[in-house]
Assembly symmetry: C2
Homo-oligomer: 244 residues x 2
Amino acid sequence: MSTPPTLPAFRPLYDQIRALLIQSLESGEWKPGEAIPPEPDLAARFGVSQGTVRKAIDALAADNLLLRRQGKGTFVASHAGPDHRHRFLRIVPDEGPKVAPVSTLIDLVRDKVSGPVARALQLRPGSSVIRFRRLLAFAGRPLVLDEMVLPATQFPRLTLERLAEHTGSIYAFYEEAYGVRMIRAEERLRSVAAEAEPARRLGVEPGSPLLCVDRTAYTYGNVPVEWRRGLCLTDGYGYFNELA
Amino acid sequence: MSTPPTLPAFRPLYDQIRALLIQSLESGEWKPGEAIPPEPDLAARFGVSQGTVRKAIDALAADNLLLRRQGKGTFVASHAGPDHRHRFLRIVPDEGPKVAPVSTLIDLVRDKVSGPVARALQLRPGSSVIRFRRLLAFAGRPLVLDEMVLPATQFPRLTLERLAEHTGSIYAFYEEAYGVRMIRAEERLRSVAAEAEPARRLGVEPGSPLLCVDRTAYTYGNVPVEWRRGLCLTDGYGYFNELA
DNA sequence: GAGTGGTCTAGACCACCCC
DNA sequence: GGGTGGTCTAGACCACTCT
């Protein structure tokens, strides 16, 4: 009678090890860019075979949390690393190789959050957030106007100056300055007509079609930490995606 | 002196087995939806251990070429399968659960290919292609105008009637009627102003912003087989993407 | 040469599905 | 209960990197 209905609750060992490894990553035991201990050491530490540790590490490497390098070791992924510098950037030229953009900061304000952004960040409406904007230029042409929204509590004393000091991607900055590591993100794309200000900043007529990219980015445990909206001029450039 | 420069050429066994499995898939030895032989049988057939076969199958399952089902077997993935019915469709409503679209065919013509489409399909300019169009309606509203381009040689005697007979996704149709299996696709998104005809078909004013999705879809061996352009009205709907 | 991840094997046992 | 994929182990050996 009181038996709970169907509780399978079988969890493979490697998956439990995986969770323990994530804990160590989250707690900062191993920092971005650093190597984690060799597999035999981890196997001893957790009291399992090396094969089981391998399977856990494989899963984390597939999720881009770790980076395996044969002969050298296994490293904590970092947005500062050469491979991940613009890991989430999908804007590429129609022809020719991928181009690295140049970022120009515009402004930063403190604000109260509401509506869909509050929902995306799982904040109560009225919570304090920081909003800042930037312009991304590709090959000298301003193509993307980005606005970021962050929970104020997790980014104390953030200023335009501190952002400007940092060379490198924004996620590398979050990582180094606040220990916030972005793991994955969800994007939703629409087509919109340019309002007056974005049009001016991107150098097009108001009403021109722009690609609107709304993103929610998550840290460990699927906790949302950043919402952003990008307005992109897709002229000679496009948002590239691979479907499998 | 005459030694060729650095030819590592080491290829793991499981990767060779993987290639052999793909051959069997491509040759039609195992058809979409069917089960492939059990792992111990394959291990015996290829003269390797079951673990090695597992690793090969794992790789193919990760690429969505095979589907593992514990206790039942390993199956050849099919666009007709319930899980893969709209595997490549990324248009989802802003709120609420994913909606299955209803397709209405418009027309089909034979044509000569040129320009970027020829390049995408790796065809000589002037080669014969089939072009057909359809309208996709979500919850009763027409939201996507699609145009598909196919190499004529691979789709003999294709007519609107044959397309209309088939209930299910277009890729399921290719699979069942022509044995052409779509494995992966690349998409490039832009924002465009609606031309007169798409505007009429989607029920918006000419010049309205539309999401333009260009796709090249590939079969085994990265051979392109279909090019398509979708013009999407992103009103209450969006193109969803996950970044990892 | 030492240390790291990568491959491959053989075998035991477990979880799931269907008869 | 028999068949399938899934987990876990232990050990041998290979490939890559750096010293």
